[in-house]
C-alpha cells in the first residue's frame, strides 16, 4: 500500500484511514462553508495532471494544507470537537510531505507547470476572506483525497 506520484513514492499511509477520518467530520465542516458558488480545488487545478507533474503538485498542495490550512483551522477543530479526525489527517499529511520533500527536489523540469496549477488554487484561496477560505479548503479535502486515490496502489 503506497502512493506513487510519478517518480515519488510514499509508504506508510493507509488511505482508508484518511477517508474514515474525513467522513467522520465532513458534514460538520462543509456546513460551515456557505460560499457554495466557489470551489478552490477546481478542474483546472486537478484534472488531467501528467504523472510527472503529480509529485510537485501534491507536495505544494499538502505543504500548504500542513503549514496554513490545518494551522489556521486548529481552533475550529477544538470548537467543533473534531480534534481526533483533525490529528489523523494532519499527521498523515505531515508524513506525506516529509517523504515527498527529498524526492521532489531532484526534479526541476516539471516544476513550472505544476506551480501554475497550485497558484490557481492559491489565488482563489486569497480572494476569499481568510477564515472562509480556511474553512472551504478544509471542507474540500475529499476532493484532494479523491485525486490522491488515483496514485494509490494496494
Amino acid at each position: 500500500q503506497e502512493f506513487q506520484f510519478g517518480p515519488c513514492r510514499v509508504e506508510g499511509v493507509v488511505l482508508q484511514k484518511l477517508w474514515q477520518a474525513f467522513w467522520a467530520v465532513k458534514d460538520i465542516v462543509q456546513a460551515q462553508d456557505n460560499i457554495t458558488s466557489v470551489q478552490l480545488l477546481r478542474k483546472e487545478v486537478l484534472q488531467n495532471v501528467p504523472e510527472t507533474e503529480s509529485c510537485h503538485l501534491i507536495h505544494a498542495l499538502l505543504r500548504f494544507y500542513v503549514n496554513t490550512v490545518f494551522k489556521s483551522y486548529r481552533d475550529k477543530a477544538v470548537e467543533f470537537g473534531i480534534l481526533k479526525s483533525f490529528s489523523i489527517l494532519a499527521n498523515n499529511f505531515f508524513v506525506i510531505v516529509s517523504k515527498l520533500q527529498a524526492s521532489q527536489e531532484k526534479m526541476f523540469s516539471t516544476r513550472k507547470t505544476a506551480r501554475r496549477r497550485f497558484l490557481l488554487f492559491h489565488r482563489a484561496f486569497k480572494q476569499l476572506d481568510r477564515e472562509a477560505a480556511v474553512t472551504k479548503a478544509f471542507g474540500e479535502m475529499d476532493i484532494l483525497l479523491s485525486w490522491m486515490e488515483k496514485f494509490y496502489q494496494l
Binding site: Q16, W19, W23, A31, S37, Q39, S146
Partner: protein
Amino acid sequence: HIAEDTSDLLQHVKFQSSNFENILTWDGRPESAPDAVYSVQYKTYGEGEWLEKEGCQRITRKSCNLTVETGNLTELYYARVTATDGTGRSATKTTDRFNSLQHTIIKPPDVTCIPKVRSIQMIVHPSYTPIRARNGHQLTLENIFQGLLYRLKLRINHTYQMDLEGKQREFEFVGLTPDTEFLGTIMICIPNLFKESAPYVCQVKTLPDRTWT
C-alpha cells in the same frame, strides 16, 4: 417581527444513493400540512446558479430522482427543497454537499451459482449503473471503480471456509464432497474507498457422484 416556525413543514432533506441512482428524499409532518407541495432545485458546487428540477415542481410526493442531474462523478452537488402549505407558509432546506462516488451504497452483485459433482462455479454478472460514458455506453461498477474486486466465501458445514478473491467474474470452488450442502457468499469490495456491498448468498448442493453406479 417574530419569524414563524415552519420546521414542521420540512425535515431530513438528503440524498439516498445506491449504485449511482441518486434520489433526493425528505420528510414533512402530514398532519400539520396535509396540502403541502414541494419544489426541488439543485446546483453544482462551485457554480452560482440554482436550477429547477423539471418534474419536481409543486409535487406532493416526498422524493425526486436526481440521478441524471448529479451524474458527473467528479462533481459535488447540493439540492434544496421548498415546501409550501395551503396557508402560504413555506420552508426551504438544503442537503449536505453530495458526491455520488463517495456516497453511493454498493448493492449486492447478481451471481449464478452452478453446482457440479466436486465443485461449485460462481459467475458474477456485471452491475450496470445509470452513468453513461461519452459514447453513450452504460457504465458498470467495474468501469467506475478501478480497484473493484469480488470476495467469495464458501462455508463447509460451519466448520471451515474456502476463500476466493479477484477481479475476474468467474470463480470455481474445487475439491468438494459430492451430494453436500454449501453456503456461498459473494461481495463487491472497493478497498480504497472502504466500500463493501452486502453479500449475495446462495445455498447450493453438489451433485451426487454416479460414476460407479
